[in-house]
Amino acid sequence: MTTTIAITGSPNAGKTSLFNQLTGAHQHVGNWPGQTVERHSGTFTVAADQFEIVDLPGTYGLVAVSAEEAIATGYLADERPEVVVTVADAAHLSGSLHLVAQVAEAGLRQIVALNMCDVADRRSIEIDDTVLADQLGAAVVRTVARRGSGVDRLKAAIADAAAAETPAPPLVVDYGPVAERHLSLLVDAVISCPAVEDLGAPRWIGLQLLAGDEAWRARVAAVPGGNEVLAVANTNRDAIADETGFEVELVLAERRFDWISRLVGTATGSEGTGAVWSDRVDRVLTHRWLGLPVFLAVMWIVLQVTADVTAPYLNWVDAMISGPVSRWAVGVLGFFGLAGGWVESLVVDGVLAGVGAVLVFVPVLFALYLMLALLEDSGYMARAAAVMERGMRALGIPGKAFLPMMVGFGCTVPAIYATRTLDSSRDRLLTGLITPFMSCGARLPVYVLLASVFFAGRAGAVVFAMYLLGIGVAIAVGFVLSRTVLFEEEPAPFVMVMPEFRLPNPRTVWSLVKLRTGEFIRGAGTVIMVTSVGVWLLLSIPVGGDGGFADTEVEDSAFGAASMAVAPVMEPLGFGEWEQAGALFTGFIAKEVVVSTMAQLYSVEEPSPETASSSVGEDLRKVVSSFVTATGETVRAIPAVVGLDLVDIDQEPSGELQSAIRTSFETSSGGDGRLAALAFMVFVLLYTPCMAAVAAFRQEFGTKWMWVSVIGQFMVAWAGAFIVFQGGRMLGLG
């Protein structure tokens, strides 16, 4: 039999690390409040007993303020798991006990994992766990999740708790004479209504109704007799406010915190304070003016590392796929007698061309995700959000929107889901609508390719400009929305815990990078493979001319016909050639394939060059030696990040694809190839990120807003590209 348990805790208490240690699963662990959005679960066994553990989103308490917290509190209230493991931060005990006390008050059987005991020890914070256990009515287990210590004891405690026969008696906190009198009236009303009483511990239900928790009010209203109970709750709420002169929320919070302070006082000698140097660093990093240049400098380094340092690897992977790997594939096909036919065309032009063009950018994304993971795990991300709050709020955008926007630099899909960290549905929608303008990792290949063709020597600056433009458009759209469709009188408050600075844990960073890069590769393996093969199919189906299947001119194919139909719309933007329209067309499915479609469209136009025959042995030697060369170049490129240009990595573009692209843009724009290329990059930056992002958006905000988002982005993209191309022409740039 499987017992279901839940793990909860405030953000940054180490909940996700502990969950990983319990289940052995590798998961995303970050450093900003409210990171875990999806509900993850895993299993483990103790002796013969099987446990399923659900990892709940981080929450500071059981009155949900954000949608994410509502997931956690809703799960605890509705599912009432047999055991709840609450992760408390031993170094910040009083901050963690708010949640712990509420879980105990709700009458859930609880185990407190006193985590980060190593940090508490270093600060000489002594905690008497027997006092804690006694007062809370819960088992207390000391853990250090990052090192995995205490995990076996935690498992044993879970098994013990699950085997216990008697239900956990709810913790009773004294809320003072006035509140207690009204609470007992309300509890009587709860007990007299069986359908409401069934929902949980009566005193807890009464407390949540007094506190005005929306989820509990809805839960009670939904059962027979619930509205009568709510009426009693409202009367007593008002009465408490009248008699004490304080609103109920404050009365309850104050008394609960009193109780916590006394408990902390008896369980610990004294509470430690944060490091002094950390205060000084925070004064600078979150400073109104000083914080901003630091933030921009950090972003600059991130983008330089991803664009330049990885370039040699990028070239290496590219050379491998188009060289030896393609030759080997043809060789293998030849062995089975399939060389030269449509199968070879499918494998080389469809499968290898598509996946290859994606794989070349794995090093780029790997570096990007590595940098983001370092920022998250070190604690810098939360500081960046604090810096941005002031300026962003002035523009109508909540400071917390910065987090999803930053994630949007990696991938729009998790960024859309990350909007759940915002406090109100209005803030979430606003952030969801502007986040897609943040340039995701998949758009980078398009900039890199075009910039290397048209802006050799200044590719890094052009790419950086694209990122800045994305931020600018996001802010402008947010500004307009916040003053029109999404106008609100009272914005959500900005209150955010700054996690401790810490050295990034290599294991955490590595698992995060692996997970995200793996997601991209899986994307490449499914959506992009399907797209690449689909495009190959469209290219192979003749709709005109006299060619047969897989033997038709591109302009006579189904794909050519579709692209030609779309192309005129793009003509005022300087890229009205059907190949360019076709590449953008497939970009709706995934931005990654814009480049692979270009590769396909331009290379199938001319006969593929005969590759010099070489033995497998020679190929392998070349694979290894060129990898070594690439590594050497990468090492030499690192100083370039800080401006020391030891090696020229902006090489003059070469190769068929580059020259085909140059010719194509020069033709389509009537000689202003650079402007057209820039307009194309702007269009790619601003239009719909991909199918997956649209699906994520629909899940979060509904079909209506999805269409608003998709159509709005297309219009913004078209207008942006139009301004760049036509405006540039008017100014005589080109």
């Binding site: 405030s10 500071y60 308490g61 009155v63 303020v65 170094a91 910040h92 005990l93 009083s94 901050g95 708010h98 949640l99 506190a211 005005g212 002169g245 304080f246 609103e247 929320e249 404050l250 309850l252 919070a253 104050e254 609960r256 915190f257 009193d258 916590i260 302070s261 902390v264 509470e271 430690g272 304070t273 944060g274 950390s278 205060d279 925070d282 004064r283 979150t286 400073h287 109104r288 939360a382 959000a385 604090a386 709050e389 002031r390 709020r393 400071g399 406090d423 109100s424 009272e490 914005p491 959500a492 408050p493 900005f494 209150v495 955010m496 815990v497 700054m498």
Partner: protein, 87 residues
């Protein structure tokens, strides 16, 4: 909705966090503002009676409470009513 202790409001208005002195120790006497703000602050231990250290009063405000460092945006800082603690 107002959340505050009526008698703490002096004629010239109560001191709010954004006007507190840097590095001061202050006691929270009330929180005015929406329910969401009150719940969020309560969960982080910012409730009436609690003494906190003002690392910086604004831009955004940084406070230390219970060993945790919390950034507070200006509107929220304006809603936290405090009084100076004399040592």
């Amino acid at each position: 909705m107002r959340f505050r202790s009526g008698d703490s409001a002096a004629a010239d208005g109560p001191l709010t966090l954004d006007h507190a002195a840097r590095a001061a120790r202050v006691r929270v006497v009330g929180v005015s503002g929406g329910r969401r703000l009150v719940h969020r602050l309560a969960a982080l231990g910012v409730v009436p009676g609690v003494v906190l250290t003002v690392v910086r009063p604004s831009g955004p405000a940084l406070i230390m409470v219970g060993g945790a460092r919390i950034a507070v945006g200006r509107p929220a800082a304006e809603a936290i009513e405090v009084e100076a603690v004399t040592v």
